[in-house]
Amino acid sequence: MSEKVLMKGNEAIAEAAIRAGCRHYFGYPITPQTELAAYMAKRMPKIGGVFLQAESEVAAINMVYGVAGTGLRVMTSSSSPGVSLKQEGISYIAGADLPALIVNVQRGGPGLGGIQPSQSDYFQATKGGGHGDYHLIVLAPSSVQEMADMTVLAFDLADKYRMPAMLLADGTMGQMMEPVVLPEPSTSTVEKPWAITGTKMQREHNCINSLYLQSGDLERTNFERFEKYKVIEENEALYEEFMMDDAEYCVVAFGIAARVSKNAVVAAREKGLKVGMIRPITLWPFPKKPLAAAADKVKGFVSVELSMGQMIEDVKLATECKKPVVLCNRAGGMIPSPEEVLASIEKMAGGNN
């Protein structure tokens, strides 16, 4: 096993991407993901890769689109306002069925917002984001180790399903340092017969495109894509259960909110409250099954979010509103404290017992 090193989450993503075989990075600077781009600027030229600071986010995502068409591993990273600018290109990449990695180290919004952490791009990340019917595979790391591991996983899943993947982190995850064991260099060899690599006059032309002027053709691509999404929803949902075995109340949280909530769950247990947590690791596909199963066991759910309540809608859908779901949230760059989460749990428990 490799040595444990201390790294910021942003740096761990960058190094893991390089180890996953990514040699093309296009971006435009924004806090709080700056260390990621800075790391790429330093490393890529030394390993024969490309780091390019584009003139704008719109240009950067279209450069990603271009390289993705050649079948090479490619990524961009930004933070909330910058990711909004990239939505048009992300929709094109999804429409052309290309693998690529988009990293969003979220900050508070809307608008230019602030530079402190947030999870308020949940809707944008999980429901499409740009125009048209599509999804991204969305991974939500909650430690620096996961920032590294999920970068590799995101590239692998994107290649496997030929679609863009997003790492949805936040300012805290990006800026914090933790010990991390970096992944071994990737040996992934996914055949990409669709890639634009030059025919050498030996094969038919490949065509990368998202324009279909015949409605019937366009409809067919949509249906086919959603067949693929069904397979992904069936097979790729990831989550972590914490103290759920005998839980009467279930906290649902991802990313930094799950870190805070874990403290609250432990504190609640010390007070004799039977509380557990389900932490979605993939936000799309959303881990519906464990939540549906929990809905038959527990008395209620607390959705802990750094937003005005976005994931809570998916919690309600997954549990078919069989049990009450309450929101414990802060917004605008604020993070709920373990005490605030505990208070929400106690309030729900008090109201139900």
């Binding site: 201390l6 805290t172 340092m177 010990p179 930094i256 870190r259 874990k262 404290s337």
Partner: protein, 177 residues
């Protein structure tokens, strides 16, 4: 055992570096840990805080709201965080920059004129590491042994000449009254 440390001062005092050193020292001792900076949008100046958690168990929230140990590097930091320290906790004060006394009587308080000691030792930028030395002495949260190895992790090879002076600074803090 878990130690939640908050180092607070202004930009340029080496708040984040001091935290990084303690984090690496913990890593080399096989501890679980997190290091989280908090600062404004300014490149220089402004407030700078750093939360470090050292634990035998996986670290939950990396945010330190109620520190076991507060290292106050300037007056605004002491004013802001004095009341957040847990009862029975430790407050280490740079008494060169903070003239007032800590008002609480349920915490252990260590006054050390770190900035003055740094100037006297001709290392004006290393008050932070003098504070670190005091932190090690008073809390034993990390061991004094092996500080060289930890320093080598946080001082890049191109600045290797800074190693000895940082060691000296920690030593001054560790041995200060």
């Amino acid at each position: 055992m878990t130690t939640q440390l908050l180092i607070a001062g202004f930009g340029g005092q080496g708040v984040l570096f001091a935290g990084k050193f303690i984090a690496y020292k913990g890593l080399l001792e096989g501890r679980q840990l997190s290091w989280l900076p908090s600062y404004g949008p300014e490149m220089r100046g402004g407030t700078a805080n750093c939360s470090v958690i050292l634990s035998d168990d996986p670290v939950g929230s990396p945010i330190v709201a109620n520190p076991d140990v507060l290292m106050a590097m300037n007056l605004p930091s002491l004013d802001k965080y004095e009341n957040d320290v847990v009862s029975g906790g430790v407050i280490i004060v740079d008494s060169t920059l903070i003239e007032r006394k800590v008002e609480r009587d349920d915490v252990k308080v260590c006054y050390i004129p770190a900035t003055k000691l740094a100037q006297q030792a001709d290392m004006p930028k290393l008050a932070n590491m003098i504070m670190v030395g005091k932190f090690i002495k008073e809390t034993n949260a990390v061991s004094y042994e092996g500080i060289t190895e930890a320093l080598k992790k946080v001082i890049p090879a191109r600045k290797a000449e800074m190693l000895d002076i940082n060691l000296k600074a920690i030593e001054i803090g560790y041995n200060a009254e």
